[in-house]
């Protein structure tokens, strides 16, 4: 049971990759890239979890000694999310442009145009 979050991370990674490899539509492909990236969120947060501990926010009245989950992975995940948003925005801008030029957003279709 305790392996489940890690297994979920592995599953997300590969199901996203499968989507990218077989994609027939660039927007779908960008979403699949997001799925692959979610695997890293799950992995990082799962690693830092400590059973029974609270969030690393020590407002007045809560003794520090209760202990909290690892705060570092949460900071890393925040960075990771920003990366995900930016790459998605950038790729979608490219997809819009390619739709205007080529009239298709299917990677296989674009190959036929090319040669």
């Amino acid at each position: 049971m305790s392996f489940l979050p890690y297994a979920l991370a592995a599953w997300l990674f590969f199901v996203g990759l499968y989507g990218i490899v077989t994609s027939r539509h660039f927007v779908h492909l960008v979403i699949c890239l997001g799925v692959t990236q979610s695997s890293t969120y799950v992995l990082l947060l799962a690693i830092g979890y400590r059973t029974g501990k609270k969030a690393p926010i020590f407002t007045s009245g809560v003794p520090v000694k209760v202990g909290a989950v690892d705060p570092v992975v949460q900071a890393l995940t925040l960075t990771d999310i920003v990366v995900g948003v930016t790459v998605a925005a950038l790729l979608l801008a490219l997809v819009i442009e390619i739709w205007k030029r080529a009239g298709t957003v299917d990677p296989d279709e674009l190959r036929r145009n090319r040669t």
Partner: protein, 240 residues
């Protein structure tokens, strides 16, 4: 390669890679048992050293503040990148149309603008006290501005967020973070070192440079999200 060949290559190697990944993951401590020293130390010392109650914010804006500097610039670079890629001159008459026909939607939507922006500013302002911060609060603040377009009029939305103001806010927001780092150098410290008064823990006037960096981040993220959405809104294509 044909689709079949591609799928075969991926299926074969993907299974091997999946097996390897699972092999690697089994080497991790059992879920919930993590004992990393780094996090323990920061949970212990951040409150007293940085006068914050939210340890994650202390990491994001101070202990690992240099990562955040890079992160801000990733977002900034994405805004510049999207503006570069979607720079083609647009037809002035092809302005995004106002799609909302229902008075009820308009009334409810527009009445939410104020509360959403206030919520965003609240989340930004309390970043070092409670869950939240510049990144988290920047999104609702930007969403509030975008509601003016979504529920109301494009013209009103543009008047509330003119291009020159957004550009300046975005540039100043990320520049401020580097400037805080350089100010520490000028004060004789190391880059991004805290050189200002730490204030009283648990109040808005606490945490020294974290508060400044957090506010600058809120400004930069708000501007970045509005700018990104703006570029995409302008690209809306209407069927003939």
């Amino acid at each position: 390669m044909s689709r079949t060949a591609r799928l075969a290559l991926f299926a074969g190697s993907g299974l091997v890679l999946a097996a390897l990944l699972v092999w690697g993951l089994t080497g991790l401590p059992a879920f919930g048992d993590f004992q990393g020293e780094y996090g323990w130390i920061l949970n212990d010392v951040a409150g007293s050293e940085r006068h914050v109650t939210n340890v994650v914010s202390a990491i994001v804006f101070d202990y690992r503040g240099f990562d955040t500097l890079g992160e801000e610039f990733i977002l900034f670079a994405a805004v510049m990148a999207v503006a570069l890629l979607l720079r083609e001159a647009r037809d002035e008459r092809e302005r995004p149309r106002d799609e909302v026909r229902s008075e009820a939607v308009r009334a409810v939507g527009l009445s939410l603008v104020g509360p959403t922006v206030v919520l965003g500013l609240f989340v930004i302002a309390h970043g070092y006290l409670t869950p939240g911060g510049g990144f988290q609060g920047g999104i609702p603040t930007a969403a509030g501005l975008l509601l003016i377009y979504a529920a109301g009029r494009y013209r009103a939305y543009r008047a509330a967020s003119p291009q020159w103001l957004l550009d300046a806010a975005e540039g100043v927001g990320v520049a401020a973070i580097v400037a805080v780092g350089i100010a520490a150098l000028l004060a004789g410290g190391l880059f991004l070192e805290n050189v200002v008064d730490l204030g009283t823990k648990g109040t808005l006037a606490s945490s020294g440079t974290i508060a400044i960096l957090n506010t600058a981040t809120g400004l930069a993220v708000t501007a970045a999200v509005v700018l990104l959405c703006h570029e995409f809104i302008e690209e809306v294509m209407y069927p003939e």
